[in-house]
Symmetry: C2
Subunit: 468 residues, 2 copies
């Protein structure tokens, strides 16, 4: 055990008292969808794609209409949601290519680490993407992040969502698995739940590979959207296949989530299980930029930009929470919420104290569940680094303070300011007319940046990003 691991374990030991009776502990299920856009669900306004299971879920709890993912890219967003800390603090500033030397450090405390220490069984089935590879011995792996059992792949299913070859289970490669990724990960999740110790509460983290490219869905779903499909997907001779393939994948994803929710219902777990549903970042729209983005047709629901942009199209995504005993069904909240809020909120709901030895950027938003106000002590914050292979090169920092949103370049010199109340599509850049707001938000970003770079837990070997 290295010193960092020891520090984490010590902390967990000290604060790990039992805060409620064993048999009353609620279970937690966190369903995270990959690249799902704000406009991609029927209950968020999609005009064609059907999502009956998620629509039903949305009515059973609280629906957020101003939820923001922690980053417009996968890895930083996932790391942040699991730790309650802004991803820049974690040293995860962009998506992590396989083989890259970036990973979630072992001294970080994830939802699973903290739940495990509180007597939970923790299961992961789906996409990890928080290190350079699931066979990378020098990087932390899902078991280090608190997962007792796990089946996962790195970033996306290879060759595509059908018959993937790159899943690992508890560190061992599984080879080719027949079937579609959504079914594979839900089968495995249900198997974990079936085989669990029924005397212990559980945490199921279900980061699905849908609707990230390269999508593939069973023909049953493709048939539903036949009208919107032009040709068979053919990645050698690239073609525009129409949006139907993507709609089918949305409905397939919804259907597989339906299986998890039905499992909870049938086993009497629905009332005692906190279920979180969210997307990790905005969608790939018809403006694809990489080979695996071809033929995706996500909808930002009108927001400007797309995945990898700091405009709302890149970070303003769907999110839902359900927990009948604490969340009034049918609530819709337009309060701006950030993905790093899940960590303190879940532990507040469980009455488990969160770490005090480190900065937690998120806040407890549970007052919203009974329609009470929340007060945030600092603006919502984003920092991310575009990889050179990403295109176009994007802006780097953003903050939202009330109705104001600022986006800045790496040097925090060039800025774009929008008033989201008057202009939710970010078309009118108003920095010149609002110098005081600009100065305040620039100062905030510079201070956050400095403070984060001095965070003692921030990896020391993370280079300062260079946008050139």
């Amino acid at each position: 055990m290295n010193i960092r691991k020891f520090v984490v374990s010590l902390f967990l030991l000290i604060q790990g008292y039992i805060s409620f009776a064993q048999n009353e502990k609620p279970n937690v299920v966190f369903i995270l969808i990959d690249d799902l856009g704000y406009g991609d669900l029927a209950n968020y306004g999609h005009l064609i794609a059907k999502t009956p299971n998620i629509d039903k879920f949305a009515k059973q709890g609280i629906k957020f209409t101003n939820f923001y993912s922690p980053s417009p890219l996968c890895s930083p967003s996932r790391a942040s949601m699991l730790t309650g800390r802004t991803p820049y603090r974690l040293g995860i500033q962009s998506w992590i290519p396989e083989g890259d030397n970036v990973y979630l450090r072992q001294h970080e405390i994830t939802i699973a680490n903290l739940l495990k220490n509180n007597g939970y069984q923790c299961f992961l089935s789906g996409k990890w993407h928080l290190n350079g590879g699931l066979n990378e011995k020098t990087h932390s792996q899902p078991q280090d992040a608190g997962f007792d059992k796990w089946t996962a792949l790195h970033a996306f299913a290879i060759p595509n969502h059908k018959d993937p070859i790159n899943f690992f289970e508890d560190g061992k490669p599984l080879g080719k698995i027949e079937g579609y990724s959504g079914t594979i990960v839900v089968d495995k999740a249900i198997q974990y739940l079936d085989e669990r110790d029924k005397n212990k509460p559980f945490f199921l983290y279900l980061p699905m590979n849908e609707v990230h490219g390269q999508i593939a869905s069973p023909s049953k779903y493709l048939k539903k959207y036949n009208k919107y499909i032009k040709e068979d997907i053919d990645l050698v001779n690239l073609k525009d296949n129409g949006p139907g393939e993507y709609y089918a994948n949305i409905t397939f994803m919804d259907s597989e989530i339906g299986r998890v929710l039905k499992y909870l219902d049938k086993n009497g777990l629905d009332k005692n299980t906190i279920v979180v549903f969210a997307s990790d970042n905005g969608p790939v729209t018809s403006q694809w930029r990489k080979f695996y983005e071809i033929n995706l047709n996500g909808s930002t629901g009108g927001f400007r930009g797309r995945k990898a942009d700091l405009y709302d199209g890149g970070i303003h995504v769907p999110a839902l929470m359900r927990f009948p005993s604490q969340i009034k069904p049918g609530l819709v909240s337009s309060e701006p919420i950030h993905g790093y809020d899940f960590f303190p909120t879940i532990f507040s709901m469980l009455n488990v104290p969160i770490p005090k030895d480190r900065e937690i950027d998120g806040i407890d938003i549970s007052p919203l569940f009974t329609e009470k106000p929340i007060s945030r002590n600092k603006p919502l914050f984003w920092a991310f680094e575009m990889r050179p292979s990403d295109d176009p090169e994007g802006y780097f920092y953003a903050a939202r303070d009330g109705d104001w949103k600022i986006i800045t370049d790496f040097e925090v010199k060039k800025v774009k300011l929008f008033n989201l109340k008057k202009d939710r599509f970010e078309v009118n850049e108003v920095s010149k007319a609002n110098p005081e707001i600009v100065n305040k938000l620039k100062t905030y970003i510079l201070e956050m940046k400095k403070s984060i770079e001095l965070d003692p837990l921030r990896p020391k070997d993370v280079s300062t990003p260079n946008m050139d």
Copy 2:
């Protein structure tokens, strides 16, 4: 008459012999659609929007599947199609805001100038956008470009396509006109045709305002796409209205074009009229960048990028030509064609010589009409300047040579190379693997740039673009 005008007139006088008997001269109709994407027409693969009139037209002549507009933006593209010269040569390097001091110089020779000098009556009804304003006395106006009668607006209908207030007729403002822009310009075009001298051939230039923002269509068309419309357009409280509004505008545009084509049929003009149909640049997709782009939902048909990009999504657009006596009906050509080819091609079809005192970048593509090969003496070329208000800042030069396409920055240093045969969606940048192709195309661009900047007709007061 200034010296430039005199030079032009002298040229026109010298070469203006009558190349065919007066009553045999074919008429010319040039229908130019604004921001229509490659995938926006049913006959180019749109899965929802109906375009029966243009679909029928496409079967009556030749359909180009590799047609490129001269620029990914309006003004340069229009100037180039009317003159046969690359827009950089004309000093029109970006779209022209109202009040800007950029305009098509009087010494340039447009299709209308040359046709007028060959005995044609020339009419314009629609969008001009080749100067800083239709009341700008120091700029050339449609009459200087050869139009005997004209009704036009600057760039787009204000406040939107319904009841526009910014049309001018022969230099006089018309005030508010009730109705939708498409109907207004087609009514005026048909009026010009009705009132024309029947003993002379005519040229009708019909640059429609559809489907550029801010779109508005009669309710009859909106109803057809009701399923794809969420809410009424409301530009104060911006909303995502769904794509139906845009589909309605496409069908409305198609319907108005149908009226022009029916006029030709009914008056026995169809056989003796060359009809050209094209788009000036790629579409605005859901990735809008400006206030007047909100809620547009154009389709590039899968091509990467959108309007204002040098990726194919910005320049690869629909184009059709019809002329029964010279163009075999039902032809489909995948030959790469450039918008500056229309000028020499139309005059070749009319057996009228084109100016020899200036560089014409386009070539005569009429051999394609009888399925014969064409040979181009230089790669297709693009140069344009992003205005600072455009976002993101784009690449500046591009060239296509056979299957290879290069896109470069302003300094012709950073490059992107694509092989369009293998990779028509431009996802695999292959410059490193093909240094010889890169060098050849970079050299070509630098030579073109130098030669254009030395073109004696290039306006001397056009600054060298600065991308900073």
